[in-house]
């Protein structure tokens, strides 16, 4: 029967295409609904999210404490823009899947006047953490993840310092829900020690990170004093994985997906193997280590592989008093990117690594393969307590955070959003 008047819905709103210019709150609107499901959880901590520092590079460059590098970088920025001093090939950045996953290429969304609403990055992080329902978010850099391969060591040193200053002098004081790690210029151990001294007491610097894409053996004697110093702070040492297509083996891989799938695991496989076989957990029993952004499937693989070989070749790993898997089970791991295609294998992985006490939720937002908290809450084999631990209580232990709600109620966030769209 022909309709004479349009049927009326109680409410009707058109939703726009999501693009690189979309407001984070619109992008993550579905996550805000998901947050209702874990609204009563004590604490939600995202232990790995990213600054896309390209949009703020001028500010970081401005804090370089080396005149030559600073003038060089400023001159390069004036000429071509981009990110001077960063050793990444911009033409090979396929992360956004040719625009299919636009959040990887941002942020380009408008923000309010920084004089009233705070630094642009702070405003964007607030949008993210309120929408996803997070109490704290730990910030890592993006392009700087490659600095370990920069042949100019002084660049890593001075950029590490400038980045730490930008965080601690400009960003972190504006919101206590934003926390971060000091970047360790790991190619120069003495400089790492200076940064540990400088930031060991800063409450918003909750640990120290080694960007794992590098060819430096973590068991080298030159790092032992650094590890002792970090152990004394009570803060964790965090190995953050990354991509690196130029590694000779990876140059055989013809697609970004192939390199990405292997590279993020590769460097942490190597560092973990050196860490365990050289028995560093025996030398630094109180040092908490966290392995970030390699997914989870590599953990049971390496446990089985190393356990198998150590039983036959004890003389090559004489510092070990237990099996490698026993040490690995006492370390901490971030959850993203969680391989969820085969839940039976994932459940076995959770068991192998004692995920209930060792796994830390991470989003990796705004990167293309981010995981919202629902990646954990929807796992059918986890108990409610395990979900609470993984989403925040484990992180509170590792990063020494108070278990105290800072996030708004999910219903309040949804009401605010409805109002914004009215």
């Amino acid at each position: 029967m022909p309709l004479e008047t349009p049927p009326r819905a109680e409410s009707f709103r058109e939703l726009p295409e999501i693009t690189v210019a979309s407001d984070t709150r619109d992008y993550l609107a579905h996550a805000a609904k998901q947050a209702l499901k874990y609204d009563d959880y004590e604490l939600i901590v995202d232990i790995d999210a990213h600054l896309q520092e390209g949009g703020f590079w001028g500010e970081i460059i401005g804090l370089l404490e080396n005149d030559v590098l600073k003038q060089t970088a400023e001159e390069m920025m004036r000429g071509r823009g981009g990110m001077p001093l960063i050793n990444m090939q911009p033409g090979m950045s396929f992360q956004s899947l040719a625009g299919r996953v636009p959040h990887q290429s941002g942020p380009t969304e408008p923000t309010d006047d920084p004089a009233k609403a705070g630094h642009r990055f702070v405003q964007i992080v607030r949008r993210t953490i309120d929408t996803m329902g997070l109490d704290y978010q730990v910030i890592f850099p993006t392009s700087m993840l490659h600095l370990g391969m920069n042949p100019m060591e002084d660049i890593e040193i001075y950029l590490a310092r400038a980045y730490c200053r930008w965080l601690t002098e400009i960003i972190l004081p504006q919101d206590k829900r934003i926390i971060a790690l000091a970047y360790l210029p790991f190619n120069t151990p003495s400089e790492c020690e200076k940064l540990v001294k400088q930031y060991g007491d800063n409450p918003q610097i909750v640990g120290f990170t080694v960007c794992a894409v590098r060819h430096k053996p973590v068991h080298a004697n030159q790092y032992m004093r650094l590890y002792s110093m970090i152990e004394e702070t009570g803060k964790p040492l965090v190995f953050h994985a990354g991509p690196h297509w130029d590694d000779p083996s990876f140059t055989q891989l013809n697609r970004f997906i192939s390199m990405h799938a292997l590279s993020f695991v590769h460097y942490n496989l190597i560092h973990m193997t050196n860490w365990v076989i050289n028995a560093l957990p025996e030398r630094f029993p109180k040092l908490k280590t966290v392995w970030v952004e390699s997914g989870l499937a590599w953990i049971p693989f390496l446990m089985q592989r190393l356990d198998h070989e150590v039983m036959m070749r004890q003389s090559e790993a004489p510092g070990l008093k237990r099996l490698p898997s026993d040490y690995m089970r006492e370390m901490y791991y971030s959850s993203q990117p969680m391989e969820r295609q085969n839940l039976a294998l994932l459940e076995a992985t959770f068991k192998a690594m004692n995920a209930e006490t060792q796994l830390l939720y991470s989003s990796d937002w705004p990167h293309w393969d981010f995981d919202p908290p629902s990646s954990v809450t929807t796992l059918p084999f986890l108990s409610d307590q395990a979900k609470r631990n993984i989403l925040g209580l484990n992180a509170a232990r590792v990063f020494n955070l108070p278990v105290k709600r800072l996030r708004p109620r999910a219903a309040e966030v949804l009401a605010r959003e409805a109002e914004r769209h009215r």
């Binding site: 309709l3 049927p7 819905a9 009707f12 058109e14 726009p16 999501i18 299919r100 919202p372």
Partner: protein, 125 residues
């Protein structure tokens, strides 16, 4: 709830779409030629806003008769909508993922009547 008009058929680009929130139910309506398709705006992966993503032809591998590859080319017949959260692609005609057809968008009945595009909004439980 009765059928709800989401717009004039002639207002849709080809290929094109409109995503609407009707009293809390989000539905993506797509046009390909003379055909219309509608799906819930909820990705089977992690509930992302699948219908609000980019629309592109499906990428295919151009395998030759001698089994060599001439590289990747865009399909001339299949158009996908791509979830902007992580890139899952769905054939707009079937709602199914090109690699794993069991992963699919949830369809919504859609029809064109007197030039209007109508969707049947399911009752929310």
């Amino acid at each position: 709830m009765p059928d709800v008009i989401v717009g004039k058929a002639s207002d849709f680009k080809d290929p094109g779409r409109k995503v609407v929130d009707i009293s809390g139910t989000e539905i993506g309506v797509f046009r390909l030629g003379d055909d219309f398709f509608a799906y819930h705006n909820i990705c089977p992966h992690l509930d992302g806003p699948a219908c609000q993503g980019k629309i592109l032809p499906c990428a295919t591998e151009d395998v030759q008769a001698d089994r060599t590859s001439a590289g990747r080319v865009y399909s001339k017949t299949q158009t996908n909508v791509i979830c902007p959260w992580h890139g899952f692609e769905f054939d707009i005609r079937t709602g199914r993922h090109p690699t794993d057809a069991s992963v699919r968008l949830r369809p919504v009945p859609v029809k064109v009547l007197n030039g209007d595009v109508l969707v049947s909004v399911p009752n929310r439980s």
